[in-house]
């Protein structure tokens, strides 16, 4: 490493520190302040640390709404991602293995799913017809519908790398179609499955727009919606508002620490939802 690379690196790190790390530090110190201290919006060390107190207060606000929100967001994320992996892998598998004129149709749908903005009010109308509007199941199915394009794309390209000989061997052994898929193919898809799980969980957990439209109401609140609601309520209590932001930032942070490589691979491999 040359001297020049060392100095440029240090300069770049310093610039990055100011531009990218400072806002996160601001979130953290404001979340630890007292109400008066936080109201000044100053970038200063807390006069009095009350991280724990603020944490308890945010959790207890509106009758433990944040806990309910974490529960709802977790349920939506886990169920939707499970269905996405299962259904997405099945489509990607047939799409890659069985060429037919349907392939063009399926590809068209995948691209449409990636590009077209969802028609919101008509979707609400359909959800109401099905009795799924304002329900967690409705929200789960919406996330599956919107995430399928990306998931199918990723699975399809990965399945292309699995030799057909494996399928043939299973067929000769007398395996039925679903046995070939679940016993032979699906276990081999583990790396791409992890990618899909990580990328989609972050996308669904962080989603704000869709719950805003399809999941209004207090009992169905999600984590991002609580933040949005608290923005109005905590207008004068910045310490609590920022504690809330801090809490919402922690789950993606944990996922990031453990799955950094998968996230980057997933995001670069296909396209990412807008």
């Amino acid at each position: 490493m040359s001297r020049r690379q060392l100095y440029t690196g240090i300069a770049a790190l310093a610039a990055c520190g100011v531009i990218f790390v400072l806002p996160f530090l601001f979130i953290f110190i404001t979340a630890a302040k007292t109400k008066q201290d936080a109201a000044t919006l100053r970038f200063s060390w807390p006069v009095e640390w009350q991280l724990w107190q603020n944490f308890m207060e945010v959790v207890q606000t509106r009758n433990y709404m944040l806990l309910l929100a974490y529960f709802n967001s977790t349920v939506i994320t886990v169920v939707a991602v499970t269905l996405l992996v299962l259904f997405g892998a099945m489509v990607g598998y047939v799409l890659q293995r069985r060429p037919s004129r349907w392939n063009a149709v399926i590809y068209g749908c995948v691209l449409a799913g990636l590009m077209i903005p969802p028609a919101i009010v008509p979707t609400i109308w359909v959800l109401q017809l099905l009795g799924l509007f304002k329900t967690l199941s409705g929200m789960v199915l919406i996330q599956v519908a919107y995430g399928l394009g990306f998931t199918v794309l990723l699975f399809r390209s990965f399945i292309a790398a699995i030799p057909r000989d494996l399928d043939e061997a299973a067929i000769i052994d007398g395996a039925k179609p679903f046995q070939i898929f679940f016993r032979v193919i699906l276990p081999l898809l583990k790396p791409v499955t992890v990618t899909v799980i990580v990328v989609q969980s972050i996308a669904i957990f962080n989603d704000f727009t869709n719950p805003l439209y399809y999941l209004p109401g207090r009992e169905n609140v999600t984590v991002q919606l609580t933040l949005y609601n608290f923005q109005g309520q905590f207008q004068t209590q910045f310490n609590l508002l920022f504690m809330n932001i801090l809490l919402v930032t922690i789950p993606p942070l944990i996922v990031f620490i453990f799955f950094n490589r998968q996230i980057v691979a997933g995001m670069t491999a296909g396209a990412v939802k807008g």
């Binding site: 970038f43 028609a119 199915l141 399928l148 805003l212 996230i263 995001m267 807008g274």
Partner: protein, 287 residues
Amino acid sequence: MIKRKSPYPYWFVLPAAVIFTVLFLAPTVASFWFSLTRWDLFTTQFIGLENYEQFFREPFLVQGLVNTVIYAVLTSGTKTVLGLLLAVLLTSGLWGQGLLRTVIFFPVLVSTIGVGITFSVLMHPTRGLINVALAAIGIHGPGWLTDPALALYSIVFVDLWKGIGLATVIYIAGLASISPDYYEAARIDGATRAQMFFRVTVPLVKPATVTVVTLSLIGGLRSFDLIWAMTRGGPGFSSDVLASVIYKQYQAGFYGLSTAGNVILFLLIGLIVLPLTAWFNRKEVDL
């Protein structure tokens, strides 16, 4: 002839197809009809193109359309250029480049609403950290989000802050796939650094460019949550975009008009992205 059953049955596609058709395709197709009606979710009254006429008659709705294009072009253009430059910098063997990549990428994963709220506090006209810092070096900072001429651009800045990491990472992956032989050959031919960048790097990193441009353009055209968290489209209608107009009309109960906004956004994305993709594919580099 006995037709043997394929080991790849079509019913595998069925669950996904049903969900996608019912909750995505059907509403999209239906939106063309509903945009031609006055609609309260229960009864529809056909009114022809009146929603569209109203849309293009109202100056603030048209402004939303113009803002959408400005926002998308600015964010995707900057992400493309800056993303490539950052990626080149972060693959040049800098000290601490792994850490740098991590730091730049992390905001991509953070809640957009959280980022929006944080920056609207940092951009407070008198007490916000940005203007306090500017004042310290003798500059009187503007009202980033309260000045109608500036609000949209301030949000564009935050969008870049949050999204540049993704463009950079895509470009880093693209750069990694370029064989060092090309640079070696260019060096032997006596190419300068600038020539290497424009004659070797830029053409060969094109697949990544296509991804970054398409992705950020579609994302920019559909952008909603950041704008909503930071200004609600204000002050006035100065930072309204199509997506926020759609939400406001929906909230006000103008479902037909809201759906017309959806159709306009749909057509806009088609009009911009499809020709662009076709153009990109035609100009594919051959090696």
